[in-house]
C-alpha cells in the first residue's frame, strides 16, 4: 500500500519535497542576504520535470478518489515543463529577490494543487486541489510588493476566485443532493438530467468559466495580468489555465457526458462570445501584457470550439493545442519579461524599431506571436487547425466558420506588433538588451518547442492514443 502510494503519487510527492527544501532554504537564511538559490531551485525543477518521465505507473488510490492514467502523467509533465520555463524566465527578477523561497513555495504549492485537481476522481478532491492552486496564486499576483497595481491584481484575483469557488461549491452541493455521491463514476450513473441537475451543472460550468476566463466571466483577467509580475502572469495564463482545461474536459466528457446536448449549447454560446470579445478588446490594447491577456482569452474560445465536438479528436486537439500554447505564450511572455525587467517598457508602441536594436529577441517574439496567430510553419498552425477540425467533425461549420473568420482579426492584432517591431520608425528604440543565459534558455525551449511540435506528428498521435471522447 505504501509502495503503491509512493509510486502513484510520485509527481506530487516530488514537488512536496522541493517545497520543503525551499522552506529549509528560507529558515537557514538568517542574514537576509541574497544567495544564489535560484540555481538550486531551477536544478531541482529540472530534475522534477525529468523524473516525471520515469516509472510511469497508473492506478487508483483511496477508492478512486485519486487516480493516475497515462494521459494524466502526460498532462502533469506538461505542467512541470511550464513551471520550469516560468522559473527560468523569472530568473532576472527573482534571483536577488529577498523573498525568493516564498515565491517558489507559493508557485510549487499551486502546482501541487493542480496535480491533485487533474488526478481527482471525486468532486471534493477536485475542489481541494482547485483551492490549493488558486489561493497561493493570489499571493503570487501580489508578489510585487512595491506596486499598487500588483496588490490590486492580488485582490481582484482572490475576490473573483472566491466568487467562482462559491458558485462551483453550490453546483457541487446540488450535484451531491441529487445524486448522493461525490465520486465521478457514481455521479455519471445517477444523472437523469432533471432541472436541478442541469442547474447544478450550469453552476459548475460557470465556476470553470471563471477560472478559464471565458467571456462573460473574464473581467478579472486583464487587470490581474497587467498588475501581476510578468512571470506570474505567464504562469497564470498558461499553466493554471491548462490545468483547469484538462479537468474541464474530463468533467464534461466523463462525468456529464449524458448532458452533451446542454453543454454543447453552453460551449457554443460562450465560445462565440469569448473569441469575439477577446479579439475586439485585444485590438484596442496598448499595454502588451493586457494585450496578451485578451489574446489569451480569445485563444480559450478556440479551445471551447475544439472540445464542443465531444470526440476523441476533441480532447486530443485540446491537449495538443495547450502544449503548443504553452510554448507560444511562454515564449511571448519570456521576451516581454526580459524587455520589461531590463527597460521597464510595457507598451506596444515602445516596441517600435525593436528589430534594429534587438534582432534575436525580435525574432523570438515574432515566432511566438505567429504561433499564437496560427501561421505555419509554427506549431500554432497545427494546434489551431486541429481544434477547428475537431469542431467541424460534428458538422458544426457555422461555429468553425466564425472561428476561422476571427483568426483574421487575431492575425491583425498580432501583425500589429510585428509591424511595430520590424517596420515602424522610432528615434529612440529600446536599447540593446542582454537577456542573460538563463532566461535565454527559457525562450530557446519555447522557440524550439514552437518549431518542432507541429512537425512532429508523433506528439499528436501519442496524445490522440491516450485521449477518449464522451
Amino acid at each position: 500500500m505504501l509502495n503503491e502510494f509512493l509510486i502513484l503519487m510520485k509527481q506530487e510527492l516530488l514537488l512536496c519535497i522541493i517545497l520543503f527544501i525551499t522552506l529549509i532554504l528560507k529558515i537557514s537564511d538568517n542574514d537576509n542576504s541574497p544567495r544564489n538559490w535560484a540555481g538550486i531551485v531551477n536544478s531541482l525543477l529540472l530534475i522534477n520535470f525529468l523524473a516525471g518521465f520515469i516509472f510511469p505507473t497508473t492506478g487508483e488510490l483511496f477508492n478512486g478518489m485519486y487516480k493516475v492514467t497515462e494521459l494524466m502523467i502526460f498532462e502533469k509533465n506538461m505542467l512541470n515543463l511550464g513551471l520550469l520555463v516560468v522559473s527560468l524566465m523569472a530568473h532576472p527578477c527573482i534571483k536577488s529577490h529577498k523573498h525568493l523561497p516564498e515565491f517558489y513555495m507559493l508557485i510549487i504549492s499551486t502546482l501541487i494543487g493542480m496535480f491533485f485537481m487533474i488526478s481527482s476522481g471525486n468532486l471534493l478532491m477536485f475542489y481541494v486541489g482547485l483551492e490549493l492552486s488558486t489561493i497561493p496564486m493570489a499571493a503570487l499576483a501580489n508578489f510585487n510588493l512595491n506596486k499598487a497595481s500588483s496588490s490590486e491584481a492580488g485582490m481582484k484575483m482572490i475576490l473573483s476566485s472566491a466568487f467562482s469557488s462559491a458558485l462551483l461549491l453550490m453546483g457541487v452541493s446540488f450535484i451531491y443532493g441529487t445524486t448522493g455521491s461525490f465520486t465521478f463514476t457514481q455521479i455519471t450513473a445517477q444523472l437523469d438530467n432533471n432541472a436541478l441537475q442541469v442547474f447544478a451543472f450550469v453552476l459548475l460550468f460557470t465556476g470553470f468559466a471563471f477560472k478559464l476566463s471565458v467571456v462573460p466571466f473574464h473581467f478579472w483577467t486583464a487587470d490581474v495580468y497587467e498588475g501581476a509580475p510578468v512571470p506570474v502572469a505567464a504562469y497564470l495564463s498558461v499553466v493554471s489555465k491548462a490545468a483547469v482545461a484538462f479537468v474541464f474536459v474530463t468533467v464534461l466528457y466523463k462525468v456529464f457526458g449524458t448532458m452533451a446536448n446542454i453543454w454543447y449549447v453552453l460551449l457554443f454560446l460562450t465560445s462565440v462570445l469569448t473569441i469575439g470579445i477577446g479579439n475586439i478588446f485585444a485590438v484596442r490594447q496598448e499595454n502588451i501584457k493586457r494585450f496578451l491577456a485578451f489574446s489569451s482569452i480569445a485563444q480559450v474560445g478556440f479551445i471551447l470550439v475544439g472540445i464542443s465536438s465531444g470526440t476523441q479528436a476533441g480532447e486530443a486537439s485540446m491537449i495538443y493545442f495547450l502544449l503548443i500554447y504553452l510554448f507560444s505564450n511562454l515564449g511571448a511572455f519570456g521576451v516581454v519579461n526580459v524587455v520589461s525587467s531590463m527597460s521597464g517598457k510595457e507598451n506596444i508602441s515602445d516596441y517600435k524599431g525593436f528589430y534594429k536594436t534587438n534582432p534575436a529577441l525580435s525574432w523570438f517574439l515574432t515566432i511566438s506571436l505567429f504561433s499564437l496567430a496560427g501561421v505555419p510553419p509554427t506549431a500554432g498552425f497545427f494546434g489551431k487547425l486541429f481544434l477547428l477540425t475537431s469542431g467541424a467533425s460534428t458538422g458544426n461549420y457555422l461555429l468553425v466558420g466564425y472561428a476561422a473568420i476571427n483568426m483574421i482579426v487575431s492575425m491583425y492584432y498580432y501583425l500589429r506588433i510585428v509591424k511595430a517591431i520590424f517596420m515602424d520608425e522610432n528615434a529612440m528604440p529600446i536599447a540593446n538588451i542582454k537577456a542573460g543565459i538563463i532566461p535565454g534558455i527559457a525562450i530557446a525551449i519555447c522557440v524550439i518547442g514552437i518549431l518542432v511540435t507541429g512537425f512532429a506528428g508523433g506528439v499528436y498521435n501519442y496524445i490522440y492514443s491516450l485521449s477518449s471522447g464522451i
Binding site: 510553419p377 498552425f381 486541429f386 461549420y397 468553425v400 476561422a404 492575425m411 501583425l415 509591424k419 490522440y464
Partner: protein
Amino acid sequence: MNLHILVLIPVLTALATLFFKELKQVRMIAFLGSALQLLLSFALLAAFYAERAAGNVAPMLFYSSFQWFPSLGIAYTTGIDGIAMAMILLSAFVVLAGVLVSWKMEKLSREFFFLLMLLSAGAYGFFISLDLFVMFFFLEIAVIPKFLLIGVWGSGRKEYSAMKLALMLMGGSALVFLGLMGIYFNSADIHGQHTFNILELSVRHLPLSTQMLFFPFAFIGFGIFGALFPFHTWVPDGHSSAPTAASMFLAGISMKLGGYGCLRVATYLMPEAAHAYSPYIILLSAIAIIYGAFATMMQTDLKYINAYSSVSHCGFVLLGIGMMNETAITGAVMQMISHGLMTALFFAAIGMIYERTHTRLLAQLGGLLKVMPFISSIFVIAGLCSLGLPGFSGFVAEMTVFMGSWQHVETGYRIATILSCASIVVTAVYILRAAGKSIMGPIVDDHHLQLSDATWNEKLAAVVLLIGIVTIGIAPFWLSDLIGPGVHGLMANIGRTILS
C-alpha cells in the same frame, strides 16, 4: 526522383543564409540555391519524360506518401503531373530571376533572402502536395514572408499594403479551410474513413448538396489568391509597394497558387458544383478582365500598370477554368505559366528603371531607350508579350483560352468570350502608351542621361525569364504536350456533369 528535395533545397538555402552576415555571401548562397533548384527542376523534367516514355500512365508520377497525423487522415503525400511540373519550372525560373534582381539588397540582406527562399519553399511544396491539408499548410507558409517583404523592404504605403495583403490572403485561407473541412468530412468511404488525399477524393464522389455548399468557399478562397474580382484589391497595392523581387514572386508565383488551387481542388474535386457555378465564375472573370484592362488605362505608375494588368491577365486563368473544357483549361494553365514569366520580367524591368531613376511615374519618364537600351528592350518585350503578340508566350496562352471558350455556344458565354477578346485591344493601348511614353520620345529629365544600363546580374535575370517566354512562344506544343495529359486526367472528373 525524389520530390521532397524540391522543398528541402529552398529551406536549406534559407537556413544557410542565416549563418552569414555579408550581402556578398548571402546573395551567393541564395543564387546557388536557386540555380541548383532550376537545374533540379530540369532534371525532374527529364525524369518525368523518361517515366512517361517508359509507359508509366499513372496520373501522378513520383508518388509517395508518409503518414503524418494518421488519426486525422493527414499524410505527407506528394506527386506531380504535367501541370504541377510546369508550375515547378515556372517557380524555378522566377525564383532565380528574383534572386538576381535583388543583387544589391543592402538593407537587412540576410533576412531578405531568408524570406524569399521561405516563400519559394511554400510555392514548391504547394505544387507537389497531393494532400489537401499539406497543400493548405504550404499555401499559408507563403503569407507571412509576403507581409514582411512588403512591409520592411517595400516603398510607398508599404505598411498599409502589407497589412491589407496579409489580411485578405488570410481571409482567403479561412475560406479555403472551410472548403477543405467540408470536403474532408463528407468524404467518408464505406468504412467511414475520411481522407485529405486528392487522388482518393477524386474517385469518392461528394454529395451534390455538399459540393454546392462548399464549392464557393474553396473557389473564392483560392480565388482571392488568384485575384478573383471583387477580391483583387490586394493585388495593386501589394504589388506596387513590394520590393522588385517580391513583386515578381507575388505576381509570378503566388497568384498562380490561387489559380492552381481553383483548378486542382475546387473544380477537380467538386465538378458538378463547378458546372452549376460556372456562369458566375465566367461573369466574375470577364469583369476582372475588362475592369482590370480599363483600370490599367487610368494608371500613371508603372508598377500599378503592371499590377492592374495582372488582375486582367489572371482573369483569363479563371475564365479558362470556368469554361470547363479541355482546351480552355489547357489555356488557363498555359496562361498561368506565361503570365508568371511575363509579369516577372515586367516587374524586373520596372524595378531596374525605378532603381536608377527613382521614379515610376510615367510623367517623369521618357526616352529611356537612349540611356538604357537593354532594360528598355526587355520592358518592351514584356509589354509585347503582355498584349499577346505572336511569337511570345502570351499569344499562345490567351489564344488557347479563347479557342476553348468559343466551344461554349450559349449566348452568355459567347458574350463573355467576345468581351474578353476585346480587352486585348485595351491591353495594347495601355502597353503601347506606357512603353511609348517612358521608353521612346525625348528624355524628360536630364539626370537620366548619366544612368547606366543593366548590370550582368540583371541581364542574366532577364535572359532567364526571356528564355522561358520565347521558348513557349515559338514552340508552344512543347508546353501543351507537357500539361496536356495532366489536363486530360483532370477532365475525367471535370467532364462529369451528372452525379452518378
